[in-house]
Symmetry: C2
Subunit: 201 residues, 2 copies
């Protein structure tokens, strides 16, 4: 792991505020790199190809799955989502710190493939707050919101397999906790091999 | 571990600045509790019994070892040092966060007995800086400093068995890193059992 970057996986139920916390992190840590996911769902208003997602045809996506080009992928509500492997591994190899903002099952897939990935589970302060956020962002139809809420109860039980849990009661506070996690993880012995070589010389 | 405190073990070679960083931590986190070690070495000027150490007779110390009253103990340069077990376990049981400021071998003993203890290895930025600090604090005779420096080279190889490593190039920065480590460790899933029970109700 010497000289390699940190892979931070920011995850949690839909409506936890992953995107907002992620933007705050990138603003405070301009050297961190955001991995862009691929998806087959249609772009929402204002979403740009290559910035928010790589928007792919279903056939292209399936071919990439067969070729093992994804670090994780899933079919969610009929659409495919995935993290292209190459971008992440090249950035880590150059020593860059990479953020993945992905769903819960995807995060656990990444941990299986890259055990040193640091998994952060972002969660709203309560279930009623989660419901409120899903409604007020106005992205989903009522039946989709209902589906997401039911789904999130099952997903939340997976949180104990994560490395860290951060309650998103306030964006600044939540981002600050994730930054503390990054600072702590950068203090792991594997990052100090060269330091000790020099120290003991 | 629910509702239990965090056990932070601050360790490192003699002259790494454990005491100074520890004082800074306690000042910034008044709810943290410092465990007072026991020793058979004579008090240095200004050291108070029960505050800096419990100063014990050798016979008393040996009796306590036999009774299993220490979380860790060692004989260093002819003197005994140890951490009384009862104080630490009672404070943790009440949910208080406890700091131990102890030597390297002691820290590894604690980790064996309490695996959830968080071990932080504090190290000066270079060997020449370590030597300078040992000389300038004026506590040791030249042959003791030589002994300490030789010993520290061996001890430093044990750093990879620690959870975290913090280079003490600046007291404020080092204390800040330890505080980030505390914040991260407080975000471990085991502290969220009650939160999830309420969330899923």
């Amino acid at each position: 792991m010497e000289n390699k970057g940190l892979l931070l996986v920011l995850s949690g139920p839909s409506g936890a505020g992953k995107g907002t916390v992620c933007r705050a992190l990138l603003q405070n840590n301009p050297s961190m790199v955001l991995s862009v996911s691929a998806t087959t769902r249609p772009p929402r208003e204002g979403e740009e190809d290559g910035v928010h997602y790589y928007f792919l045809e279903k056939e292209t996506f399936k071919k990439m799955i067969e070729e093992g080009q994804f670090l994780e992928w899933a079919e969610v509500y009929g659409n495919y989502y995935g993290t292209p492997r190459r971008f992440v591994q090249e950035a880590l190899g150059r020593g860059e710190d990479v953020i993945l903002e992905i769903d819960i099952q995807g995060a656990l897939q990444v941990k299986e493939k890259i055990p040193e990935a640091v998994l952060v589970f972002l969660i709203p302060p309560s279930r009623s707050e989660l419901s409120l956020r899903l409604v007020s962002r106005g992205l989903d139809l009522p039946e989709e919101i209902e589906k997401r809420l039911n789904c999130s109860a099952d997903e939340i039980k997976l949180a104990e397999r994560y490395d860290y849990i951060v309650v998103n009661d306030d964006i600044g506070r939540a981002a600050g906790k994730v930054e503390a996690i990054i600072m702590a993880e950068k203090s792991r012995p594997r990052y100090f091999k060269r330091f000790f070589e020099q120290f003991l010389r």
